[in-house]
Amino acid sequence: MDKKIIFYFVGNSLSAFSITFLLPVVYALTAMKDFYTTIHFFVLGVAAGFSGIFFIFLGKNHKRRLPVAESAVAMLLIYPALAIFGMIPFLYWLSPLDALLDTVSNLTSAGISLLPGTAEYIFRLWQSVLMWFGSLIFLILLVTIMPEVGGCFGINMSLQEGQNFSPQFGQMLEISKKILKVYSFLTLISMGFFKLAGLNSWDSILMAMRCISTGGGDFFPARGSFYVEYAAIFTMLMACGNFLFLYRLIYTIPPPISHAKENIFRRTYYFFRRLKQNIFQNTKIFFTNSEVKAVLLTIFFGVWIIFFSVFYRGLVADGNEIFRYAFFHAISFLSTTGITLGDIEQSHDFEKFLIFMMAFFGGCMGSVTGGLKMIRIIVLAKVTGFEIKKTMHPQMIESIRVNGMVVPKKIVGRILCFFFIYLITLFVCSAVLSFDNLDFSGAVGMSAACLTNIGILPGICDPSDFLSLTAVGKIFCMIILIIGRMEIFAVLLIFAGLKFNRKNKKW
C-alpha cells in the first residue's frame, strides 16, 4: 500500500482546514474584540496548517494515483484527522469525548450540537465552519475517490451528468476546483438570501453555512420570521441538488464574449439573446432531470400529506401555519439538515415517521445530503414495477432507464445490494447501541440519525440522548457517522483488505 498518497491527502485536507480558522479569528477580532480568543483560534489554525504541511512532506514523491486500498484508507482517516484539531475549541464547554462527538457530527453534517445554550456565539460559528468544511470535503471525496471505492452503487451514473472522472491525479484536482467554485458560489447566494431576509452579516454567514452544508443543528436565529424560514428553505433545496450538475448548468449560462468585428450594439444584442437561450435551455435541462423531478415530487407529496394529516387532526386551525410547518420540515428532513421549528415535538407519530422516511431518501446524488440518495430510490422503484410485470412475463428483459440512459443490470443489482447493506448496517448498529441500555426506538432512532447524517429525529432521537450515552456508545456513534457519510462500502473494503493481507495476498 502506498502510504505516501494517504499522507498527502490527509495533509492537504489539514492544510485546507487550517484556512477555515480564519473566520473565527476575524469574528473574535472584529465582533468580540477578544484578544485571547483570537490568539486561541489563530494558534490552532497554524498548528493545523503545520501538521498538514508535515503530512504533505511525508507524502512527497507519491505515485500520483489513488487505487482502491489507498482511497478507502484515506477516506476514513480524513475525518478523524480533522476532528482532532476541530474539537479543541469545544473543550472549553465539553468533555473531550463530547467535544470529539460534536466535532465529528459537524464534520459529517449531522449537526448534533452538544453545546449548552449558554455557549458563546463564536462556538456556534465554529460549528457552522466545521459543517461547511466537512461537506466540502465530502463533495470532493464524492467526485474523486468515492467512485473508485464505491461498489458501483449508482454514484457514477448520476455524476456523469456533470463529469467523467478517474483516479488520475490531475483530473482529480480539476474536478475539486469545480466543486469548490460551485459550493462557494451557492454559499454566497444563500448568504445573500439570509441578509435580504433581515439577518445581520454574521448570522447570515452562520445560517448559510449550516443550510448549504445540510448540517443544521439547533441554532436558528429569528425563529418565527417568515423571510428567514423561506431563505433557509431555498438554501436547503439548493443543497439537495447535484453540485456537479449545478456547476454545469450555472457555468454554461454565460455565453462566450464575441470578439467579432461587429459594432458593439449588435454584439451586445447577440450576447443577451444567447444568454436568454442558455437560461431557458438550462432551466429545462434542470427540471427534466429525473432526480430533480423525484426530489420535487417527494417534497410535494410530503408537504401535502403532512398538511392534511395535521389539518385532519385539528391540531392547528390556520392553514397558512400548517403549510409553513409542513413545507419547512419536509425540506429540512429530505435534505437531512434537521432544523426544526420547535413545534414538531407535538406532532403525531405519523408525521414524524413520514419525515423520518424522507430523511432516508435524501437528495440528489452529488449533493451533500445524507440518506440513500434519490437516484437509488428511482432505480429501486422502477425495479419493483418491473418485477411485478416480470411475474406475469418471466422471460421479460428488464430495461430500466434514468434520464434517458439505460441503467446496466450490474448497476441495478449493486443498488439493490446497497439497500441491503444499508439496512443491515442500521440493524447491526441498533443492536450494538441497545447494549448501551437504550430502548428499541431509541437505538433504532439514534442509528438512523447517525447513518443518514441527519443528527436528530424529533421525538425519537435528540442531542440530549447522545449526552446520556456511555463512552463506548459515543465512540460507536462517531463511527456510525463516518460510515454513513462514506456510504459504508469503504469500511467493508478495509475489513476485506485486512483479511487478504493476513493471508499475504497483495491488493
Binding site: V68, A69, V149, G151, C152, S309, H348, D349, F350, K352, F353, L354, M357, L380, V383, T384, E387, I388, K389, T391, M392, H393, P394, K409, V412, G413, R414, L416, C417, F419, F420, I421, L423, F427, S430, A431, S434, F435, N437, L438, D439, F440, S441, A443, V444, G459, I460, F489, L492, L493, A496, G497, F500, W507
Partner: protein, 486 residues
Amino acid sequence: MNRRVTAGLLGYLTLFTGAAMLPSFILAAMAEEIEGAAAFLLSIFLCVAVTFELERFGGLKGKDNIGVRDGIAVTGLGWFLVSMLGTIPYLAGGYLNLIDSFVESFAGFSGTGATVFEDVEILPKSILLWRSVSNWIGGLGIVVIFMALLSQFGRGAMFILRAESTGPTKERQMPRIRDNAKAIFKIYVGLTIICAVSYFLCGLNVFAAINHAMTTIATGGYGIYNSTVNEYGNAYLEYCMSFFMIVASGSFAMYAVAVSQGLKVIFQNMEFKTYLQIIFVATVAVALDLFFEMKLDLEFAIRSAIFHVTSLSSTTGFVAHDFDMYPPISKAFLLMMMFLGGCAGSTAGGLKVARIILLFKFVSLIVKQKIHPQLINQIKLNGRVVDENIVYGAAKFFLVVVMMDIAFAFVMMFDGIDFVNSISVSVSTMASVGPGFGIEGATSTYALLPNLSKIFACIFMFLSRLEVFSVLVLFTPLFWNNPKGW
C-alpha cells in the same frame, strides 16, 4: 387468462375448503355444540354453493393448459376465496363480528396465527379445531395439499405451484409436480402425527396435542389455551415444542429427499446448517442477557431463550412467557429472528435464510471484485451455482418486504397507533409471526387494533404468505386486460 379454467380450478379449491370443514362439523355434532354445528353446516353449504356456481361458469377439459396468468390467478384468488369462506364459521356462529372474522381467518390461513379472541377457552371445540385446521392447511399451502390429493390440474400446474411456493428458488426434487406435492404432503402429515404423539407423551390431552401439533408444524401458532406455554408447567413440553418448531423451519423438500437418501442430506444442507447456527448464537445471546440482566435461573433462562428464539425464528409465535419484559438486547435479537424467518420450502414465514445467505454472498462478491477487478467468481448455494437473476430476485424481495413493512406501519400510525407499536406489528405481520412487542405483545391479541389496521393486517398477511409479487400483480390492469393472452 383463461377464465373458464381459472373458475374451474377455483371451484375445486372451494369444494376442498368445504371438505376441510367437515371434521369440525362432525366434532360439533358429536359434542352437541348446536351453534357450532349449525355454523359449520352453513359454511359447508356455502362452499358447495360457490363451487357449483364456479363450475357452472368454468371447468377443466381434457387438453386444457394452465399458463402463467392462470397460475397466478388460481393461487392468488384461491387463497383469497378460501380465506373469505373461512370467516363464515366465526361469523355464522356469532363468535366474532365481520372484521374480526376476516382477521381470524386470514391469520389462520396465512400462518400468522394472530388471534382476535381474547378468551379462547370459552370457545367450542369445533371452532378451536377449525382454527388449527386453517393454520395447518395454510401452512403447507392450500394448492400443494390439493395438488397432492387430487389430480384435476391440467398441464402447467407448475405455474400454480410456483405462485404459492416460498423461497428464492422454486426447485423440485421429482420430475412430476404431483409426485413432488405428494411427497411433501406425506412428510407434512407424518411430522404432524409424530408431533401430536410427542405432545401427548409430554402430558397434553389428545385434543390439545392434535391442535398444537397442527399449529406447530404449520408454524401458525394458534393455541387452545389463554395461558402461555410456561403456565402448562411442563419443561419437557417446551423443549419438545422447540424441537418441532425447528423441524418445521426446515425445507420439506429436503426431508422428502432425506427419506430416500438418509439423514446426511439434512446435515449437509447449507441453509439448514446456517439456520441452526443462527439459532444457536441468538439463543446464547438471549440466555446470557436473561441470566445477567433479569437474574433468572440458568436453566430457566436457557429454556426461555431456546423457546422464544425458535418460536419467533420459525414464525410460529408460541409464547412461553411475556417476552415484552425482556431487556432491549434480547428484544433486538428476537426482532431479528422474526425478520429472518425459516428455511426456504418450510412452512415458516419471514425473509428466509436462503435469501439472507445469497445476499451476504453477493456483498462479499462485490467487495472481492472491487479489490480484484479481474476476478471471476460465482455465488453457490448447497454446492450449486446460483444464477445472478435468483440473487437479484432475493434482493428485490428484500426491498419489497421492507417497503410493505413501512407501508403497513404508515397505515397503523395514521390510524392512531404509535411508532414503536406500529413497527412491531408491521414486522410481526409481514413475517407471519403473530405476537410482537407493545400493543400486540406476547400476551396481547389483534383485538386491540383499530378496524382500519385490522383490514390492512388482513391484506398484508395475504401479501406476505404469497410472497408479495403474486398478489401485487393481481392489482395491475395489465393482468386482467392483456389481449395477447399469455
